[in-house]
């Protein structure tokens, strides 16, 4: 694999947050310091306040994706194109409209989490 993996969470507790778009899971600090590897356009590292907007601690289940290109799980979860790393199986919040339009501007897909 020649792929650069995303940062791996340095802790496993409540500091973990998941990116609302790509569901990448990292600690708050990691997001603050280096943003989201899959969604650089959020420019979290430039505006740490955005962390609250584009990430959530409210997610369910994690998956450590070693080999997203060849993983069925990645395909199923639609994270096959993202960097290897830890992801949430499901996030419980939706990107705000602002952020959604940002995604649109960036021409990246955003699939809001499915509601029950």
């Amino acid at each position: 694999m020649g792929e650069v993996a995303a940062q791996i969470p340095t802790s496993f507790g409540h500091e973990l947050r998941a990116c609302l778009r790509c569901r990448l899971v990292k600690t708050y600090d990691q997001f603050r310091d280096s943003g989201c590897e899959n969604c650089p356009f959020f420019k979290i590292e430039e505006d740490p306040e955005r962390i609250v907007d584009v990430t959530t601690p409210n997610f369910n289940g994690t998956i450590s994706m070693m080999d997203p290109r060849r993983s069925w799980a990645a395909r199923w979860l639609r994270i096959g194109k993202f960097a290897p790393g830890c992801y949430a199986l499901a996030v419980s919040e939706t990107l705000s409209e602002d952020m959604q339009s940002l995604c649109q501007e960036e021409r990246v897909q955003y699939i809001p989490p499915k509601r029950i």
């Binding site: 694999m1 993996a5 791996i8 969470p9 496993f12 609250v52 601690p57 409210n58 997610f59 369910n60 289940g61 994690t62 998956i63 450590s64 994706m65 070693m66 080999d67 997203p68 290109r69 060849r70 993983s71 069925w72 799980a73 990645a74 395909r75 199923w76 979860l77 096959g80 194109k81 290897p84 790393g85 830890c86 199986l89 499901a90 996030v91 419980s92 919040e93 939706t94 649109q104 897909q109 955003y110 699939i111 989490p113 499915k114 509601r115 029950i116």
Partner: protein, 1040 residues
Amino acid sequence: MPRHRGEEDDVDEDYDGMELEEEEEEDEGRSRGGGSRQKRGRSSFFDDYAEEDSEEEEDDDDDEDYGSRRGKGGGGGGGAKRKKSSAAMFVDDIADQVDDDDEEGEDEDGEDGFIVDTGTDLPDERVDRRRYHDRGFDENDEDVDDLERRIQERFSRPQEDYDEEATDVEQQALLPSVRDPKLWMVKCAIGREREVAVCLMQKYIDRGSDLQIRSVVALDHLKNYIYVEADKEAHVKEAIKGMRNIYANQKILLVPIREMTDVLSVESKAIDLSRDTWVRMKIGTYKGDLAKVVDVDNVRQRVTVKLIPRIDLQALASKLDGREVAKKKAFVPPPRFMNIDEARELHIRVERRRDPMTGDYFENIGGMLFKDGFMYKTVSLKSIIAQNVTPTFDELEKFNKPSENGESGDFGGLSTLFANRKKGHFMKGDAVIVIKGDLKNLKGWVEKVDEDNVLIRSGLKGLPDPLAVNEKELCKYFEPGNHVKVVSGTHEGATGMVVKVDQHVLILLSDTTKEHVRVFADHVVESSEVTTGVTKIGQYELHDLVLLDNLTFGVTIRLENEAFQVLKGNPDRPEVALVKLREIKCKLDRKISVQDRYKNVISVSDDVRIVEGPSKGKQGPVRHIYKGVLFIYDRHHLEHAGFICAKCTSCVVVGGSRSGANRNGGDSLSRFSNFKAPAPVPPSPRRFQRGGMGYNARGRGRGGRGGRDDSLLGTTVKIRLGPFKGYRGPVVEVKGDTVRVELEMKIVTVDRNAISDNVAVTTPSRDTSRYSMGSETPMHPSRTPLHPYMTPMRDAGATPIHDGMRTPMRDRAWNPYTPMSPPRDNWEEGNPGSWGTSPNYQPGSPPSRAYEAPTPGSGWASTPGGSYSDAGTPRDSGSAYVNAPSPYLPSTPGQPMTPSSASYLPGTPGGQPMTPGTGLDVMSPVIGGDAEAWFMPDILVEIHKAGEDSDVGVIRDVSDGTCKVSLGSSGEGDTIMALPGELEIVPPRKNDRVKIVGGQYRGSIGKLIGIDGSDGIVKIEDNLDVKILDLAILAKFVQP
């Protein structure tokens, strides 16, 4: 691991797949040089697992892949038909995987093809195999990636065009196939699931592609396990080797392919909490309590709710004073609004503070915040339940209390209630009313529902029609007089008529309980349905007397969801409790009698009047008696389903006539007088005794009920329910709601030697005592009118049994006696009451053949059970004969069948003359009468001509009592004429084709598929019905 990336070599691939799969063909494989290698790989894996290297693992695990490869190989017949459409491959793969047996066959085919095609490739096999593996992955990836790419291309770009529906379909395409990596379940330390997953990720990054696993899943809701996605178990083992939180040597479980998606399908708990949402507390003192969201802090995942405090002020005071509080864990204080003044009285320090954010004032007691009596609590989002919270009426009422000032009846804000509405709440045609905004109180009908907006037609001039109204501003509208059904909430399932409409609250008159029920209009739909409602939960029914604990008992007066409302047995004041099903100890249905104020005996169903206490003046029949407490049912009492609880000493029995005389000596007499039956003759001693004692003991003297019960005595009943369903038998005892029934003996087949005559000695006495003839007889007719239902019952019960289970013989036995009630005594004494015992003689007895043969059920068919019930009803002891073996029978087993029985039959009083066409007819063949009964063409018979050897033949024609018989087992011989008396049916054997020569299927042809004693199991050819028929009416059929 070295990977040989080779160009496509389909043939080799096929070859490999097949060969590796077929262990039996190891020799063959070895001869080609590949098998041995494979074998080594295998054994090393099994024997020396520690030394395995990834290559070997792969060898081993490749087996799993072969399902797919091989499938293709086989399908291609060894040819290089690699390029199927990927979809087709998927299908093939799955089919192959499932169907192992087929694969074997296919393999062979494939192999044949292969040998022809690719023998020359053998030397390269090893390389090819590696190649194959590698390429296998690549291809896999290619497929996957390709698929993914296509899908992504198709759906991702023009986002606007596809909404979630589209992605659902798309998701289907992503379902795992056998070619995908698998999920393996690995046990890990509890609470370390996420950590393990992250550590494995780190390990992967550190070790690079050494680790062959693809992903690791840690679910929040699944403790103790993680899932690892990998192609092979060995990869998983390799990856988890040395992990701290994974126990070594744990079993690794493969997740079945169809469950793979379940693993990943985690619902995003999209908590849509907003202010005023109703929630329930999940844990702690307030567990299950209703609370209302006041504030949500999404960032910190905390929510502030207000709820009714459960605070023991005394305990709180002690605690705040620093005194030791006796901890009673089990005690949860009831919810009660905080009364600050009360708290102050207890010298609890109450601080009044202003919340800086909202500006509201809160009373702070020991760190807890209160306002308007409510407690304001900030808790974690995880500690509340926010989904499907539907507050009950009571809860809302309670919640509403303090803020009653002003807007009464608005139960804590309509909007919050509506928040729980499901989609599709309104339907076209619903009558609705606007409850908010400018158009408040506008009525209309739903025209169309469009997401949140409902188009309503108001019919008012000057208003646009239809009018779009937000769903939340609408409420279903009902008018008094509407008949509705409750579709949700505590009263779900109830139906009733709307008697009052108070905004969105309806008051219904329930069809079931005749009580007023308050429901939300939202929970109701208009319906003409009238449910009798559920009146039973578990073993308890409405209006049962139940024991709650050793001291408390009560009558169930209403059913709710899995709970009863119980009117407790408290005579001082009506006390109603909601009791869960499991809290009920047992049902009390003892029949007790007590004494009233004047020492008169009260028993259940007696009318009593309450002469003192809170319910003084009420009157009604007693429904239950327990511990000196009466439950009286007064129709005019509207509360508690009409039940009133009173002490027995506060009541007097009304209608004195019932109490006195009846209960004493005149018991039986008065009872019988109710029958309109002359009672000069006492019932049989035993019965008298039983009946009389029963009455005295139970103090039940009322003629109507008692008499009725009693009349059941001796009658044959059929049990309709329970484990004895279908059994019949005479009632031997009646006690309250239960009767004791002596079940009829089962008709069984026993060897003749296995029976003894002893029974006969004992039974007659039993018989007589129970059905002592003379004395009872006069009563019987009187019963019939009382129990008109007996006849149909008996019919239903008896007839089928006769048709099906018994031999025709019995019916024949019956019929002659059918109309002869008058001479019955005679008959019972002199004649076999014993016909009924036929089980004993019927099947095994040797002579039966002679008689069975001519038993062509014509007799019984023509007099189907009707005659039986005729006979039975008036006499009531029908079962007696059936039941009681008589002295006669066992000792003379075959007697009725021999011709000599004819001589005795006519002797039976009333027998023969009265039943001309029935019983005797069927006997006649033996006696030498009409032959029509069983002689039919195309059956195999044995011919016994005087002075000649017996011979077999086939009846060809029957005319005037003579038969044209073609000799020979298939009728190929000479044709002779024979008299019926000279012929005998050749009994068919199993699997013979048979012709049914008697009974309602007479003439039908079928196949004898089994023999059970004297019964044959016949599959009738016309309709393929399987019938159990007496062997006697089956004759071997010979195709003409």
